[in-house]
Amino acid sequence: MSAAKADILARVRAALGPSPAVPEIPRAYRAAGSITTAGSVDLFCERVAEYRATVHRVAVADVPATLRAILGDSARVGVPAGFPDVGIEVVEDAPLTLDELDALDAVVTGSALAIADTGTIVLDAGPHSGRRALTLVPDHHVCIVEARAVVPSVPDAVARLAEAAEQGRPITFVSGPSATSDIELDRVEGVHGPRVLDVIVTS
């Protein structure tokens, strides 16, 4: 054990005293599974649209056409390695270099789950989400959210992500495009990270 670690732990123990009282943690808030899932998809679409993301609700079969409408025909589009075919021409992140990522016009990914209450999309570095740089460097992110992956609340999401957390996967919560309120408290969208966010909700 390093000297610094030993010193710090000794100071902590001395500060707490010989038998510190360990309080119970009251968890009377709305727990995972306590909120109805009815209406979650509607609520999610409403909330994420409030963040100036564009929401498209389509059937799975219509995803390719929707992507073409969003991206146009000549866009250079990246997807996670091994991503299922989405009916448009794409570049797989197998992996791409930083310059190649920077040269993409857009990136299309799936997601791990979405939170209705807060309009949040969660990426978990799995095969649908892709690695983190992929959804960070390109300026336009098109994210596919399956309706059955929408959960009502933050506690629901945290519970569902416990396994990914145990596996040590990096997890990113995305709630709208990037923003700052540092200039006179005027909210300005799009500082770093994708300035355009399209969300396709499939059922």
Partner: protein, 501 residues
């Protein structure tokens, strides 16, 4: 400088007052709306307080669990007793990786330990990437708020600052968007090329080793993902016991700080993940006075702070003087208790008095830190530990304690006091009387009146209880001019009609 002296300076800055007043007013209203949406807000606050208290009470165990989990995931954990040790560790990692530049995510802990300056002395440039921190850094200025550190700066000032520095030769216009765009362009090249980043952390989970950063702009994601080496400096009080605890803080923090349902980006990472993110991760656990805070049984709740800044936004003192008057990285109500506890009471003895004790901070604190109680506790500590026992205030208190000691002394003191309340008192306690009026002494004290009043006849036994016995003697001095209530009738209450009125 003492707080009153520093405040006197910043009170002159009308732009600062206007900006801060506007900013805090807006955010206060937004926060209330965000919080009102959750029917279980109070239960969340209780849970937040409970988790933090539990974490502090079991801190040695939580820190060891965290170290084990981060190490198992390929990270390296360092321990730093103070800022100097932490800065040396960070500089050492930069030098080992052959870089003279690091990109930074906003981190109050690194500001607290003066990391940028220390790295500068070691020949390493620390580049702030948070927009407000960039503004403050370029202007050679100081932060005025925990969450929006450059709020004291107007758009026009920021624009001309950028045109002088990162956007030379350009004319940016007055739109906030164009100003933000200049920052984006300037920083993007740094994100894509600088090999090392330094961040703070909002929390770290002992159970899984996950470390988390909550942000809005995306510069955090850039710094946490793109460089080869990531160093996170985190105060030891930020550790949370279990993954489940995130469900509490990811609700408490965004709604309390930016007053949103959720902030744009929250990043959670564990150690090193091959093919995704930095190849090297270092976690520096910083004491830096936190064990001193922990040692104060009343003050240790200050360690529960999640740095949301809700208390700043409701504080009538902060609203008028701004953050710089506190001369600390932590201003406002939380700063008034945390700064003296972290640095030592002798370093910031006037801060516990930087408050009217209105309690608004306690009401909005998402983890229920009882700031007013800690302020009063610290005032007591400062008086006992710092102030000389020969100060006029201390001597006056001793004299009063003696005077209140026996009845005879008290009555004698009363007579003396009647003589002394005029110019004598003002001369003896100028500080006390500068802002307060001493009440006019009565012509006759209550005791004197009581002793000299005429005795009253006992009521006749045949009279019904509740009947009126005639009043005797003149009313005591200072009594109201309405007819006196007699002994037999009950005193007027709010519900019953006033007797004799």
């Amino acid at each position: 400088m003492s707080f009153p002296a520093a405040a006197r300076v910043t009170l002159q800055d009308s732009q600062l007052r206007r900006n801060i007043g506007k900013a805090t007013g807006l955010i206060r209203a937004k926060r209330e709306r965000a919080v009102a949406e959750l029917p279980d807000w109070e239960a969340l606050r209780d849970a937040g307080e409970g988790v933090k208290a539990h974490a502090m009470a079991t801190l040695p165990e939580q820190l060891e669990r965290l170290e084990a989990a981060v190490t198992a995931a390929g990270g390296v954990v360092h321990w730093a007793r103070d800022g100097a040790e932490a800065n040396a560790i960070v500089a050492g990692i930069a030098q080992a990786n052959g870089t003279d530049e690091v990109i930074k995510v906003k981190s109050l802990a690194t500001d607290e330990i003066g990391m940028n300056e220390a790295l500068g002395e070691a020949g390493i440039r620390a580049i702030e990437t948070d927009l407000a921190e960039l503004i403050v850094q370029l202007a050679g200025d100081k932060q005025s708020h925990i969450l929006v550190p450059a709020i004291h700066r107007n758009r026009a000032e920021i624009r001309s600052l950028f045109e002088r520095t990162i956007a030379q030769g350009q004319s940016l216009g007055n739109e906030a968007r164009a100003i933000a765009e200049a920052a984006r362009v300037h920083l993007r090249s740094k994100f894509l090329t600088v090999p090392m980043a330094v961040s703070g952390a909002n929390f770290a989970i002992a159970e899984t080793g996950a470390v988390g950063v909550v942000e809005s702009e995306g510069n955090g994601r850039m710094c946490l993902t793109l460089p080869r080496v990531l160093v996170t400096v985190m105060g030891i009080e930020k550790v949370l016991p279990s993954w489940q605890d995130l469900e509490v803080f990811l609700q408490l923090l965004p709604r309390s700080s930016t007053a949103e349902r959720m902030n744009p980006y929250t990043s959670l990472w564990t150690g090193v993940r091959p093919g995704d993110g930095p190849a090297e991760f270092h976690l520096v656990l910083l004491d830096g006075g936190r064990t001193d805070v922990l040692a104060d049984a009343v003050g240790r709740q200050a360690l529960h702070c999640i740095r949301c800044s809700a208390c700043l936004n409701v504080c009538p003192v902060y609203e008028r003087v701004g953050g710089q008057a506190y001369e600390s990285v932590y201003p406002g109500p939380i700063g008034a208790i945390l700064t003296p506890l972290l640095r030592g009471l002798d370093e910031a003895p006037s801060l516990p008095w930087a408050s009217s004790l209105c309690g608004a901070c306690y009401e909005v604190c998402p983890v229920k830190i009882d700031i007013p109680s800690v302020l009063v506790h610290l005032r007591g500590r400062v008086v006992r530990e710092q102030k000389s026992s020969l100060s006029p205030e201390a001597l006056a208190m001793k004299a009063m304690a003696a005077a209140f000691g026996t009845r005879r002394r008290y009555e004698a003191a009363q007579r003396l006091a009647r003589l002394g309340r005029g110019p004598l008192a003002k001369a003896a306690l100028p500080g006390w009387t500068a802002m307060r009026d001493l009440p006019e002494p009565p012509k006759e004290t209550f005791r004197d009146w009581w002793q000299h009043r005429e005795p009253r006849p006992a009521p006749a036994r045949s009279e019904v209880v509740g009947g009126d016995a005639p009043p005797t003697g003149s009313p005591p001095p200072g009594a109201s001019s309405s007819p006196p209530a007699t002994a037999a009738s009950p005193p007027p209450t709010a519900d019953s009609p006033e007797a004799g009125a």
